[in-house]
């Protein structure tokens, strides 16, 4: 065992292929670019987290006494903009997608490696510029930039922030184009579409949404800039503009953006559940259809953000119906993951705990989506903490749990090191409880009428805010823990074998960490998730007989 470990240590791999700063900043290796993205999103995650920590501290008391109302508004705007565009949207696609997509389909790199590097530079430049704007000047519009507030009334740095977000949008589009081309053109011999791991399908569906939706965000923000800077009447009603036009355009991007965050998460969870249940994924082809269905239907539900905006009552019904329809494939995916456990051989390593967390939290997020799709209920709870809780269950309970699940699953592959398993399991459990502790009270206070984005609030809501802030403290610790043990593992962790989880999938056929060209020999492609034969018995260990 130790002999193989030291062999792995000596083997050439992408991490050892040059150690200068230049070898990282001018690399075209998709694995190194993935690491660059990972460093970026980690920094932005903690910036967004710091902003919301101050917000949660402020909300411990009903009076607005810790920061001024202006600062409060700027803080939640930082949190929203940074977490949505600089963390969640690139989180899984730009890190695991970048690292794993070529390896999973048996390719040497992405189709356009230099475009991939450009994508990172656009991301880091746009995001850093925006964050400097947000911290030095400040923007108080919320991440939604609603007009006419953003175009005519806010006297903060809307122009520069919007410009930065547009630049980061181009990074999304380039990454999406790259992934689509790679999936179409570079699959290894034998890697048919229905042999693709679901993670690849998730990234592929996400890329389609990125390429189709993100340009609309760029156009929308350009219109905001045009009105604010060039004084063109686009949203100003007194000059024939329409403020609701902005909301239609904005949500036409921003609802699909939710699927940009959740589809890759679904892919990650599919990989983890199959591996740790040692089971073929139940209903593989249905899972694929569901991913595609969510990506397509997701384009036709944007109006459910606007039930009280003054749009027509009939439009409300159409968008409500479409929202119920998009719930169907999401529900089927949850059923299929659950069914995959049946007759499995389940172990509870850290990635699996995160996947279980995802299942519970995503289910709650999805079910509360039914409340919001029901127009009369939505009229009451929209723009309250109920909505905040709902989308955090999807984006944090769902997407972030899956991100951490994926991180624990593929960390040995990416770094070639193992991490302390019991610390990781502890962090997973702490994150699950901290999360519920933070966000479940928000459902209750939202139903009771606590509006969003309030700096001060009536005292009867205080008990829920205190619970939520206490939970946020637990959650904060749970997010810091992995930072510590991963840092330790990177330098001192035990060397990881090529396939520490005995998982299927081409990424486990190459060494940990993989060599620069990903594979020394051409990998053998089989069905994904061949954890047991389609027919015939398997033993109690879940091994093939």
């Amino acid at each position: 065992m130790s002999a193989t470990a030291s062999l792995t240590a000596e083997a050439p791999n992408y991490l050892r292929d040059g150690s200068t700063l230049g070898s990282w900043l001018f690399t075209t290796d998709h694995k190194r670019i993935a690491i660059l993205f990972a460093i970026g999103i980690t920094i932005f995650f903690f910036i967004g987290g710091t902003a919301i920590s101050i917000v949660r501290l402020e909300l411990v008391t009903p009076a607005g006494d810790l920061v001024s109302d202006d600062t409060y508004n700027k803080l939640f705007t930082i949190h929203g903009i940074v977490m949505v565009w600089f963390f969640l949207v690139p989180s899984i696609p730009a890190t695991f997608g970048n690292f794993l997509l070529p390896i999973m389909i048996g390719a040497k790199d992405l189709a356009f490696p230099r475009l991939n590097l450009l994508s990172w530079y656009l991301y880091i430049a746009g995001a850093a510029f925006t964050v400097i704007t947000l911290i030095a000047g400040g923007v108080d519009t919320g991440w939604t930039f609603y007009t006419p507030y953003s175009t005519m009334f806010s006297n903060t740095a809307v122009l520069t922030a919007a410009a930065g977000v547009i630049v980061v949008g181009f990074s999304s589009v380039l990454t999406g184009v790259n992934f689509i081309a790679t999936t179409h053109m570079l699959r290894a011999p034998g890697m048919t579409w229905f042999r693709l791991p679901l993670f690849v399908w998730g990234i592929y569906a996400t890329s389609l949404v990125m390429v189709l939706a993100t340009p609309v965000l760029a156009m929308t923000l350009l219109l905001v800039i045009a009105e604010r800077w060039l004084d063109l009447p686009i949203f100003d009603p007194s000059r024939g503009g329409d403020p609701l036009l902005f909301q239609h355009l904005f949500w036409f991007y921003s609802h699909p953006a939710v699927y940009i965050m959740i589809l890759p998460a679904m892919g990650v969870v599919s990989e983890i559940v199959a591996c740790f249940a040692r089971r073929r994924l139940f209903g593989y082809s249905f899972m694929v259809y569901c991913l595609v269905a969510i990506a397509v239907i997701g384009f036709f539900v944007w109006g459910h953000h606007m039930f009280v905006s003054g749009q027509s009552a009939y439009a409300n019904l159409v968008f409500s119906f479409m929202s119920f329809m998009v719930a169907v494939p999401s529900a089927i995916k949850v059923f299929n993951w659950t069914a995959t456990l049946y007759r499995g051989s389940i172990s509870f390593d850290a990635p699996m705990l995160y996947a279980f967390g995802f299942l519970g939290l995503f289910t709650i997020g999805g079910l509360t989506g039914l409340f919001l799709a029901t127009v009369p209920i939505d009229i009451h709870v929209t723009d309250t903490y109920f909505v905040i809780a709902h989308f955090h269950y999807i984006m944090v309970g769902g997407a972030v749990s899956a991100y951490f699940g994926g991180l624990h699953f593929w960390w040995p592959k990416i770094t070639g090191r193992m991490y302390p398993g019991s610390w990781a399991r502890f962090a997973a459990i702490l994150m699950f409880f901290g999360f519920n502790f933070t966000f479940f009270p928000q459902f209750v206070m939202g139903y009771l009428g606590m509006p969003r984005r309030y700096h001060a609030y009536p005292p009867e809501f205080q008990v829920y805010h205190v619970l939520s802030s206490a939970g946020a403290a637990v959650l904060g610790v749970a997010y810091l823990l992995p930072l510590c043990y991963f840092a330790w593992s990177f330098f001192y962790g035990k060397r990881a074998p090529a396939n520490p989880w005995q998982a299927t999938g081409l990424e486990w056929q190459t060494s940990s960490p993989p060599p620069t060209g990903n594979f020394v020999a051409v990998p053998a492609v089989t069905d994904p998730y061949e954890y047991h034969p389609k027919e015939g018995p398997i033993d109690v260990q879940g091994q093939l007989l």
């Binding site: 009334f153 079910l367 029901t374 929209t382 984005r453 309030y454 001060a456 034969p533």
Partner: protein, 314 residues
């Protein structure tokens, strides 16, 4: 029920319906969630690694039929919930003569309300219990949202157009009024209260208020000041639509469309008259956006309306 902290007072007819819908969807969600939760825990326990249980491939019947079964079931459930709440929806609110019509103007960061007889309030709204109320709302600056949790009602208030809320308060009491759409620095201070009173108390309260001109009178004065009658009065030589009786009618538009002459249409016709020209008239009216503030337009619309509706409060 009212003693429980988890429940909001139900103070309007709508509130009861929203709560029924809420708790029905909650019950459905709980059934689904608990089923999944029990299955997850049971599978996790029974099939944890090392237990001695059968783990062969699934029987064929479980592989496809069950998938089709729960897909169909989920589609059916989704359509059922949709059908069920839609069938219970009230029709879009229409003008009715028995409604108490109150005008609401939102601005950063206050609510201004005006009663039919001219009484005005700031950050407060007094209304009698049991009386259908119709709020006609507009904003002077950004988008706000009129939210009364106890009524389970919320409606965005937009600049440059009217939105409406129709409701009937059913319980006397004092309830929160919140601005629910983020509107700038002091958004969280854009709150107020809705006081629902018995009809007698309301009448007494109304008498005690200082009365300005009613909205209709203000509108009449503006109508004269801005010279609207020069074109729109029956004696005018200019070919312009006569306004008496226009409110509530269908207007045939140049180009073949039709529009109902409601508040939104009248407002639009004052602000950008050339967008929807009544058929047969030349498009000669200029925009009055620069000459009339949004409260002025409320008043003008109220005046034009009073020329059409019999028994309108004056």
């Amino acid at each position: 029920m009212t003693g429980m902290k988890l429940l909001l007072p139900e103070a309007s007819k709508m509130a009861r319906e929203v709560d029924i819908a809420f708790f029905v969807v909650l019950a459905i969600s709980l059934v689904i969630f608990l089923t999944l939760f029990v299955l997850l825990v049971a599978f996790a326990a029974r099939y944890r690694r090392g237990t001695c249980v059968p783990r062969g491939p699934l029987p064929r019947v479980l592989q496809h039929e069950i998938e089709i079964g729960w897909t169909a079931g989920t589609v059916f459930l989704a359509i059922f919930i949709f059908w069920w709440f839609v069938s219970g929806l009230p029709l879009p609110p229409r003008y009715a003569p028995n409604q108490l019509e109150i005008h609401v103007v939102a601005k950063q960061w206050m609510w201004k309300t005006q009663h039919p007889d001219g009484a005005r309030e700031i950050d407060a709204l007094h209304i009698p219990v049991g009386q259908p109320v119709r709020l006609v709302m507009t904003s002077q600056d950004v988008i706000h949202s009129f939210f009364v949790p106890a009524f389970r009602l919320k409606q965005d208030v937009l600049p440059g157009r009217d939105t409406e809320l129709v409701f009937t308060p059913t319980e006397p009491g004092t309830f929160h009024l919140f601005c629910a759409e983020y509107c700038g620095t002091q958004h969280s201070h854009m709150t107020g209260e809705v006081v629902v009173m018995t009809p007698q108390d309301y009448a007494a309260w109304l008498r005690a208020q200082p009365h300005g001109d009613t909205l209709v009178r203000q509108g009449e004065a503006l109508y004269a000041k801005l010279g609207c009658g020069a074109c729109h009065s029956p004696q005018s030589q200019v070919r312009a639509p006569k306004l008496a009786g226009v409110f509530g009618n269908t207007v045939v538009l140049a180009g073949g469309g039709r529009a109902i002459a409601d508040e939104a249409y009248l407002r639009k016709s004052i602000l950008s008259p050339r967008d929807e020209i009544a058929a047969g008239y030349p498009p000669i009216m200029p925009s009055y956006a620069a000459l009339a503030s949004s409260s002025d337009i409320e008043a003008l619309v109220a005046y034009i309306k009073s020329q059409s509706v019999q028994g309108q409060h004056r």
